[in-house]
């Protein structure tokens, strides 16, 4: 059973990443860059340069493993699934930082520190939103959270949850308004010195994370595998694909403000909003 579930998770990740690349219209470019020269920068941190995309992929895989593919059935059947996903989110900041640190060049370095400054406060709304989803389930397990949505999905019961989590998803996948690591004013930031297969692998890992974060959002807010007629995994795939398309669309359409202003917005606007969200969710759950 475990082997079968592991294969399902791996298959979802592979097919999902391909789908994400097509949504992004970058699939052909990624293929092309796997075959090009990988340029060595001046005195880089070789170990972290090679490991950063590998960690990003690891976090995408580990995150997707806590998602239940059918009611009561997840690869990591943990009573603290939300905590595992939360630690994956936090480690994304470390991974992106290492990616920007390792080439020993100014633009990647600025991108890395900038992302750390935005990524840290983004963690707060993220955890408030996930904890609010745990309230009606009386458990930190994603399986229990799915069960708690049998009658009504969290997206309706906790209306601020999905919008707040979409902001987190944009930050986790380095997209559009939350892409402070790879901005245009620093020549694609942490990736400014990445070339050839290194660049292509980083893009792939970024798209793999889009699959995981969308699957988590589908589980926490859209009832995951719950749905009539079709089998559980199919519902999960459909909801995940819809959220992936939504996140890509939002990333392409919403403007990004300056990092200092975004940090202020995160603390002074989005954090109080997530307090409010927790209060509403708590009152509804009682």
């Amino acid at each position: 059973m475990i082997v079968l579930l592991a294969l399902v998770v791996l298959g979802t990740l592979l097919v999902g990443t391909l789908f994400a690349a097509m949504l992004d219209r970058s699939h052909l470019s990624i293929v092309a860059f796997f075959a090009r020269q990988r340029v060595e920068t001046e005195a880089p941190d070789r170990l972290n340069r090679d490991l950063a995309p590998a960690w990003y992929l690891t976090l995408a895989g580990a995150g997707l493993s806590v998602v239940p593919f059918a009611p009561g059935l997840a690869l990591i059947d943990s009573p603290v699934g939300i905590v595992i996903w939360g630690s994956c989110e936090a480690l994304v900041i470390v991974t992106v930082f290492l990616h920007g640190w390792s080439p020993n060049a100014p633009f990647p370095l600025i991108g890395a520190y900038r992302y750390a400054a935005i990524g840290l406060p983004v963690m707060l709304p993220s955890m408030f939103v996930l904890i609010a989803a745990a309230l009606p389930a009386e458990s930190l397990s994603l399986i229990a959270i799915v069960e708690s949505q049998r009658e009504i999905w969290n997206v309706i019961r906790q209306p601020l949850g999905l919008p707040l989590f979409l902001i987190v998803a944009l930050a986790m996948t380095l997209r559009g308004p939350m892409d402070y690591a790879d901005a245009a004013d620093i020549a694609t930031g942490t990736s400014a010195e990445a070339s050839g297969a290194g660049r292509a692998l980083w893009q792939t890992a970024r798209l793999a994370m889009l699959v995981s974060v969308s699957a988590i959002a589908a589980t926490v807010f859209l009832g995951g595998p719950l749905g009539p007629l079709l089998p559980g995994p199919v519902w999960l795939w459909l909801k995940t694909a819809a959220l992936m398309a939504l996140i890509v669309l939002l990333g392409n359409r919403i403007a990004r403000t300056t990092p200092s202003r975004m940090m202020w917005i995160l603390w002074v606007v989005l954090l109080p909003l997530s307090f409010l969200h927790l209060l509403i969710s708590g009152l509804v759950a009682l």
Binding site: L51, N104, P108, L120, M263
Partner: protein, 111 residues
Amino acid sequence: MLTFGIILGWAVLSVLFALAVLPKAHATAPQAMPFLGGGTPDTHAWQRFHFRPYTMSLLFVAFEMEMMFMYPWAVVFVEEGIKALAEMGMFLTILSVGILYGWREGIFRWE
């Protein structure tokens, strides 16, 4: 234990995949120079970098610790009822005063 095994499995798989697809990087001296739009740097980029939001990161630590209390709280919330809501409300109010104080002191400014 199984959880750790699965996460470790993902790590091993990802690292092996990365090693398999990443060729050894190589470059001549002019290729290796950091990209500055054709310009040249005086020094290495690695430095004692001035991380502007360092004051914000202190407040962040306070909130991260608070999250630890929220995990068990979320599990017993429905059981404890309105009492749990009031307790967390008080806790968050106190932390919010921290945000207001920090805001007044300018810790969300980029300096």
